[in-house]
């Protein structure tokens, strides 16, 4: 038997082993376990603010940790930092490349980052001495588009790319610290665990992977989706992962049980999920779809308990503020809306 044949057999055996091990701990389902919990009552939120100013599709938004400021990225070639309460634009940053696909706010509030079809992640210092916002670093190494980026601190950022890898960067030196390879398709989205020790990535190979930030290893792989995973997030206790896919469903995977616990789907929903965010307690999952709506799911009961309708085009991004007080949606209609 050739080595290739042997390796294939071993791979198949290991896959069967994993399937069996997952089944062995499947003594119940989340549906059964939560049977005694009542479904959340109808959730109704109103648009409290509309952030107007972008001139083209908005592709990404991210809240600052102060729950007041947020940053958005549009293919009009601008990053705008907004005061979501006054709706004032705090900064309007012109980008070298207008083909931006992601943006992020550093936890400190000092930096923002963005990237896209330029294959680079550009870091901007908001607190420069002369008051002007300038490019601080350009992180270049990916051989494909930048789909997502998230700061660990002012000195480290993680990026995901269409080149199927994720990278942990040292911002000060502008170099790669660790490369995370393993996905067999474009990486579309990433999220960092609440304790900053892990991150998860969702990709066009229909899987989500959990990575150890420090040792660079993939710890777990979650399959089940039938199409690209576009959106990913941690459940607020850091012990589960929520994914959103082109297959029109969201799924919740538990990290400790190493398996999917529940799927959020409805036969009337036939379009892809673009974005998602859990509420503070994790009980609600807000998911943006290609059909211009946001659906609100009861995470334990997998029932739709509300919707946010108000955009005139695809909802491309969504975020819940750190204090849980508001949800922000960004759309291809060029507007951001604040809801609660």
């Amino acid at each position: 038997m050739g080595e290739m044949e042997q390796l294939r057999k071993e791979a198949d055996a290991l896959k069967d082993q994993i399937t069996a091990a997952r089944k062995a701990v499947q003594d119940t389902t989340l549906e059964e376990a939560a049977a005694g919990v009542a479904v959340v009552g109808r959730v109704q939120m109103k648009t409290r603010k509309t952030l107007r100013g972008h001139l083209a599709k908005i592709y990404a938004m991210h809240w600052a940790t102060d729950s007041k400021l947020c940053v958005s990225a549009s293919q009009d070639g601008k990053l705008i930092v907004w005061d979501s309460i006054t709706t004032n634009k705090v900064n309007a940053i012109p980008l070298k490349s207008s083909w931006v696909m992601t943006c992020a706010y550093a936890p400190s509030g000092n930096l923002v980052a963005c990237g896209g079809l330029d294959n680079m992640c550009s870091i901007y210092n908001l607190k420069g001495k002369d008051g002007n916002v300038k490019v601080m670093r350009e992180l270049a190494a990916h051989t494909g588009y930048l789909s997502c980026c998230r700061f660990i601190s002012d000195t480290e950022i993680i990026t995901s790319s269409g080149d199927c890898t994720c990278i942990l960067w040292d911002i000060e030196t502008g170099t790669q610290k660790t490369s995370f390879a393993g996905h067999q398709g474009d990486c579309m989205s990433l999220a960092v665990s609440p304790d900053f020790s892990y991150f998860i990535s969702g990709a066009c190979d229909f899987t989500a992977k959990l990575w150890d930030i420090r040792d660079g290893n993939c710890r777990q792989t979650f399959a089940g989706h039938e199409s690209d995973i576009n959106a990913i997030g941690f459940f607020p206790n850091g012990q589960a992962v929520i994914t959103g896919s082109d297959d029109a469903t969201c799924k919740l995977y538990d990290l400790r049980a190493d398996q999917e616990l529940i799927t959020y789907q409805d036969s009337s929903i036939m379009c892809g999920v673009t974005s998602l965010a859990p509420s503070l307690s994790g009980r609600l999952i807000l998911a943006g779809y290609d059909d211009f709506n946001v659906n609100i799911w009861d995470s334990l009961k997998a029932e739709r308990v509300g919707a946010l309708a108000g955009h005139d085009n695809r909802v491309s991004c969504i975020g819940v503020s750190a204090d849980g007080m508001a949800c922000c949606t960004g759309s291809w209609d060029s507007f951001l809306k604040i809801w609660n």
Partner: protein, 66 residues
């Protein structure tokens, strides 16, 4: 050495790693998720709703004494 074999070795190595992790029973995992949700429900403003006086995004009508 064929790059296919190198790639396949990596795949097998990764599968070995993933096969070896400890798994918690779904009943335990589900109970913990449920408990987290219920324990934090009252502190979840999008879930419980809020009065306009507690809502930073809702402008307050200001009464002033003339």
């Amino acid at each position: 050495m064929s790059s296919n074999i190198v790639a396949m070795r990596k795949i097998v190595q990764q599968l070995r790693l993933e096969a070896g992790i400890n798994r918690v029973k779904v009943s335990q995992a589900a109970a913990d998720l449920q408990q987290f949700c219920l324990q934090n429900a009252q502190q979840d403003p999008l879930l419980t709703g809020m009065s306009s006086s507690n809502n930073p995004f809702r402008p307050q009508k200001v009464c002033s004494f003339l």
